[in-house]
Point group: C2
Chain length 343, copies 2
């Protein structure tokens, strides 16, 4: 197969303002870099893409501003796919298509852009979700920090599933599909050169296959959420507030990897507040807990799923931690920013 390309872009070249101007340079960037990295779109290159009919569409959008662009376990490209795929999955939807919009700072090395887009394309292919349309803007030096990516996903709701934060009920078991704190500490450690990045890699990965394994449990899957920004603490509190249901979490059941605990200790962070990009919490009726746990553990990304607590009618809207020494403390909604730009 021969592909006719414009003059190839050289790896030592950088993004110019003109690459975002909608003219010949934009066409060249698209043909020589973006499309080879992402794979050709399923339809013609127009300002909008046509999709097959969708019975129960679900839409989610997220901007990714992570710094640095590359970190152990991923980069802004794979993260932009996983984050949006996971937001769809948490509503019980199968991802169908992605739209990708880039804001690039003038001067970004083309080699970096190529690496990110190849990673994005690979993550999309692995998740089985084509990139169907996109946009590229370039802003002058100093007007953005290298590269921001906004991904929007369209999915199809899987009919028996209709999880929602508001559907958590007293006497639900609370399950967690994997260890916490890896993504935030990996990014922070890389950015600040703290040295933990040798032992910690982001958990960034797609979770839709995990959700697919829960289809047999249908509407018993009350709530699904991936604890990203604000960490597990924010997610548990959002669910408690939306459902008016309290939660009791067992500290001893929380899977905090040793290097994460060490990093958090050094930095004065609470692992409950650190962002994750590859695990989910599931709220289901107690009697279904073992079955759901088995289903989660049957998928590689849920191999280390555990039960971390239960809901209660005793303190509506509040999340309590039962500590290792037997005391209780409230897990508060984090106020603001512990870790800027981790996603």
């Amino acid at each position: 197969m021969t592909i006719q390309c414009p003059a190839p872009l050289h790896e030592d070249e950088r993004v110019l303002l003109g690459h975002g101007a909608g003219g010949r340079l934009t066409t060249e960037l698209l043909n020589a870099l973006v499309l080879p990295a992402l794979g050709p779109p399923p339809g013609p290159l127009e300002d909008a893409a046509a999709l097959p009919p969708v019975g129960l569409p679900v839409i989610s959008t997220d901007s990714f501003v992570v710094s640095p662009l590359f970190f152990p376990g991923g980069d802004i490209g794979s993260l932009a796919v996983h984050g949006t795929v996971n937001d769809l999955a948490m509503r019980g939807a199968e991802p169908l298509a992605l739209a990708v919009s880039l804001i690039i700072e003038e001067g970004l090395p083309l080699a970096d852009l190529r690496s990110v887009l190849e990673s994005l394309g690979k993550a999309a292919t692995e998740a089985g979700v084509p990139v169907v349309t996109g946009d590229t803007k370039v802003v002058g030096r100093g007007a953005a920090d290298r590269l921001f990516i906004t991904t929007t996903g369209i999915g199809r709701r899987i009919p028996p599933l209709h999880p929602s934060a508001a559907r958590a009920r007293p006497h639900d078991a609370i399950l967690l599909s994997g260890p916490i704190g890896l993504h935030g500490t990996a990014v922070l450690s890389t950015r600040e050169g703290l040295g933990f990045e040798a032992d910690i890699a982001s958990d960034s990965r797609p979770l839709h296959r995990l959700v697919h394994a829960l289809i047999p449990f249908g509407s018993d899957i009350h709530t699904l959420r991936d604890p990203t920004r604000g960490g597990l603490a924010a997610t548990l509190n959002e669910i408690a507030e939306a459902s008016g249901t309290g939660a009791d979490i067992d500290e001893s059941a929380l899977p905090v990897p040793g290097p994460v605990a060490a990093a958090c200790d050094l930095l004065g962070l609470d692992p409950l507040h650190v962002a994750n990009e590859g695990c989910l919490v599931a709220y289901i009726p107690e009697p279904q807990a073992d079955g759901v746990l088995d289903a989660l553990r049957g998928v590689p990304e849920g191999a280390s799923a555990v039960r971390i607590g239960r809901t209660t009618a005793a303190h509506p809207g509040r999340v309590d931690l039962r500590t290792r020494v037997g005391s209780r403390r409230v897990i508060d909604m984090p106020l603001g920013e512990q870790l800027p730009r981790i996603c």
Copy 2:
């Protein structure tokens, strides 16, 4: 009706990093500013929004990085709605829902954010398209230039219409729905303080009603495009290339408002290269031209629609301008950036 709000945000306050952290400050920003400006979403506040079934979905995404944020005739908020609505309309689709993602520089005055979001909400309401989901990220001072907005639109293709750049044919009439050059010169003049902004306002507006008026012409509507970045020159060239059809444009028929011509003259710009945000070009068979022109003129946003030229088999893929003095010149694809950050 009483709305329970957190402590109100004061107008002299500014966006903090913590407003993007997914914690209590994020909730406060959402409840006190974003949701009142945009109107409550049709569903619960989750990471993804469910939509009614869509038979023939169309999706489009665009990042908006215009500088300044406010300009005569609009702002980044209204522009972000119009741009995405128009990209859907140009594929013959009726817009159904918008997803909005914000990247905010720390320190942006909350009053500016509120103004932009109120304008965005107003433009969405006027276009009849709800904002169903969104995301907010905050980056540190200097890591972005105040505010970037990415809007993604979902539309439903209107069955008899299936316009595409590739469907232009020899002997099509080329129509233009309104004057050119207003948006780019309005933004540039405001940014640089050139003084033209008293006489020039952006043409930013939604074009889906104009497209709706073309439904009776069905598949005779070969091509629709709004000449944004790169101006009319880029759009005509893209269509020529995608369809392999040449075009002859009459310079005397091109509607260039006096103040736009004066501004372009002073700045050494070609009005054909200047971005527009409120007009479209339509390619239709010659025999339908008068009917389509009447239909366009029957809608306020197409009141000054004109015929600007025709397609030809004589020079496939090339766009020629027949000048006022009778000579011909090629209208080239613009190379790169004349006017950075106009959308």
